[in-house]
Symmetry: C2
Subunit: 415 residues, 2 copies
Amino acid sequence: MSTPIIVQKFGGTSVANLDRMRNVADVVAAERDLGHHVVVVVSAMSGETNRLVALAHDAVEEPPPRELDALVATGEQVSTALLAMILSQRGIPARSILGYQMGLRTTGAHTRARITEFDRRTFDQAFAEGTVLVAAGFQGVDPEGDVTTLGRGGSDTTAVAIAAGLGASFCDIYTDVDGVYTADPNVVSNARLLEKIAYEEMLELASLGAKVLQIRSVELAMKYEVPVRVRNSFTRSAGTLLTKEDADMEGVAVQGVSLDRNDAKISLRRVPDQPGVASKIFTPLSEAGIVVDMIIQNASEDGKTDLTFTVPKTDLKQATRIVEKLAQEIGIHRVETAPDIAKVSIVGVGMRSHAGVATRTFSVLAQEGINIQMISTSEIKISVVIDEKYAELAVRSLHEVFELHKEPKARTSWT
Amino acid sequence: MSTPIIVQKFGGTSVANLDRMRNVADVVAAERDLGHHVVVVVSAMSGETNRLVALAHDAVEEPPPRELDALVATGEQVSTALLAMILSQRGIPARSILGYQMGLRTTGAHTRARITEFDRRTFDQAFAEGTVLVAAGFQGVDPEGDVTTLGRGGSDTTAVAIAAGLGASFCDIYTDVDGVYTADPNVVSNARLLEKIAYEEMLELASLGAKVLQIRSVELAMKYEVPVRVRNSFTRSAGTLLTKEDADMEGVAVQGVSLDRNDAKISLRRVPDQPGVASKIFTPLSEAGIVVDMIIQNASEDGKTDLTFTVPKTDLKQATRIVEKLAQEIGIHRVETAPDIAKVSIVGVGMRSHAGVATRTFSVLAQEGINIQMISTSEIKISVVIDEKYAELAVRSLHEVFELHKEPKARTSWT
C-alpha cells in the first residue's frame, strides 16, 4: 500500500508569529513521524494581508486588481519561507514553493481567480526525497503568467485542491478553533463540537456566515470527496470531519444553528406588478457587484406588490442609492431600509425526512415574542430574518429546543 | 531611427514611502514625455530588506539561503506593485514584473546569484503597447525555477543587465546623491561632482567602498559598454556618466579620493618563510568566507618574515581565531590585530601616464605627519592604509594637493 498523503493547511492565526510557526513545525513533525507524506499549505501571517491591502489603498484610490494580487501574494511568500526555515532547522527537510513553482494555474480573474490545474510532479518528487513542501496558499498564476489570488480564505481552497489532486487521505485545515460547533460557543455556552458534518451542511453553514472555511473549498471538497478535517493547531483536537452524507446523519434533524449579522434589508413598497420589473431592479444591483441574498415578493394587490430583499450591510448605502433612482423610473411608492436585522438558520441533511422542523422553529420564535420578517428554506436549511436585537435569544432558543447540546442519539425523538 | 530605450533604476530611498514613489512616477512621466521607451527597475522600500533578513535570523540561526532568497525577494515585489499602481493612476499604462516573468535566469548561487540571461520579448511587447514595465530588481530564478537574489545592491545589476540586453541608450541609476564626487562631500566640503568617469575608475571606487553602485553592475556596464548615469531622483540632476576611457580622461591624473573604514589589519610576526605557508594561512580564511584585501610580506630575515593583511572589520574576530589557531601549528611568533585603520585611495586612468602621483601622495602624507602602514597600487590606483584617526585629514590633504575641487583644465600642470 502506498504511503498516505496528508495535506495540512495553517491559517493566519496559526502562523501569526515565529513562536506559533514553531508550534506548526511540531504539528508537521508529529504527522511526519507517523510515516505519512506531508504537504503544508500556509496563509499569510495574520494581519499581513490587511496591511498590504491598506497600503495599496493608501497608494491609489482603486488599485488595479493585477497589481493588488502581486502585492498581497507576498504575504504567503513570507510565511512559507519562514516556516520552511524553521522546519529545516528542526531537521525536517523542507522547501517553500510558490504558485508558479507548482504550476498552480488559475483563471485570469484577479482577486477572485479559480484554480484550473496544478502540476503534481513537484509533489511526487518531494515525496520521493522525503522533503516537506511548504506551499503558498491563496496564490496562483494565470495563463499570462501573472500572479493571481483566490479571494479571502483562498488558502483553504489551495489546500483542498492540492489534496484532491494528490488523492490525499486527509486535508487538515488547522485554525484557532477546535472544529465546527452546533452553534457559536460565544453565543451558546453549551454548544457541542461536531464529530462530523456533511459537505452540504458545511456549505450552508459557510454561506451563512460561519467563517470556518472558504465556501469554494467546501464545494471543491464535496466535488472530489476530499476528507477534510477542521482542527485546532494549538490544542491539536481531532476536530470535525467533513464527509459525504451517511445513514447516521439522516437520523439527525438539525446539525447546527448559525447566525449572520452581515446583511441589511431593503423593502420596496407598492412596486408595479409587471413582467420585467424584478429584472429592472436586480440587474443594476448585480452590475454594481452587490450580492442580493434573500428575496420576498408578496401577493399582488391593485396591480402593486411589496418586494423585500437583503444585501450585505457594507453595500446598503450603494444599494439604496441605486433603488431610489429606480423608484422614480419604475414608479415605486417608497423605499425602506433596515440595517439592524439578523439571519438565523438551522441546518441539517436530516431535515429532508423530518417534516416538523419548520413548524417547531416558527413556534419557538413565536413563544419568545420574536417576529419573523422573512423566511427562506432549502431542503436542508431554514433561515429566518429577525430584528437584530433578538439574534442571540433566537439562536439559544433553537439550540435548546432541538437539544443540540446532546449527542444526537440522546435527543428526544420527534418528527 | 528606432525609439530610444531608457532603463531607470530607483533605489530604496527613492521608493521609501508612497510620497517618494509619486516623485518617482514624475521622473518616469518626464522621461516618457520625451517619447522614450521606459523600463523601470526598483529596489525594496528602504529598510525592508533589512527587516526581512532580521526576521529570518529571528526565526533560525542560519537561514537556508534558498529560503532567505524567497523571503527577501518579496521586498521588491511589494515596491514594484505599488509603483505600477501609482503610475497607472497617473494615466501611465504600467505593469509590475517579477524575475520569473521576465525569464531572468541566474546561477543557483543563492543570495549572490549571477544573471545568465533574460527574455527580451516581454519588454518588446510592452514597448509596442506603450506600457511601462516596472521590473523587480535584485531577483531572478535559477535553473530549478527557484527564486534567487543577486546580493546587496543587486538591483543596479538587474538594471544594467536589462539595459545591456535591450541596447538601451542610457541606464539611469537614481539614488539620493547627485552623482559621483571627487571625494565624499561629508569629508571634503569643496568636493566636486564629476560629469563623467571611466568604468575602470568607477570599478576601483566601488571596490574601495564608495557605495554608489554594486561592483558587479559596473563590471557588467564596462563589458557591454552600457552608458550608465548616476542621478538624484529628488533633484533630478544630470548626474555622472559612466563611460569608456577617452582622451580627456587621460589628461586627468587623479579623478577622486576615496576612503574606506571597513577594514581591519592583522599582522603575523616572524612567520617561517617556507613554501606553502601563505597558502596554509589564507586557505582557511577563504574557506570561512572571509575576503582578504591587501597583503604585505616583508623581506625575510633569519628564515622568518612578517605578514600583514586586511580583512573586513566585521570578520576580524573570526579571522583572528583562525590565524591564532594556525599560529601554533605553523610556528608564528605573534598575532597582532588593529581594528582602527582606514584605507585612503586615489584613482584615475590618467595615472598610467603621470609618473609623479605616487611620490606626491607619499610626500603629502609625510608632511602631515601621517605614517603609512601599507601600500597597494594598480595601474590606475594608489591605496594606503593609515591610522584611522588621520583618515579625514589624509583625504582632505590629497584632495587639496591634486586640486580636485577645480575643473581638470584649471589645475596646475605637473607630472
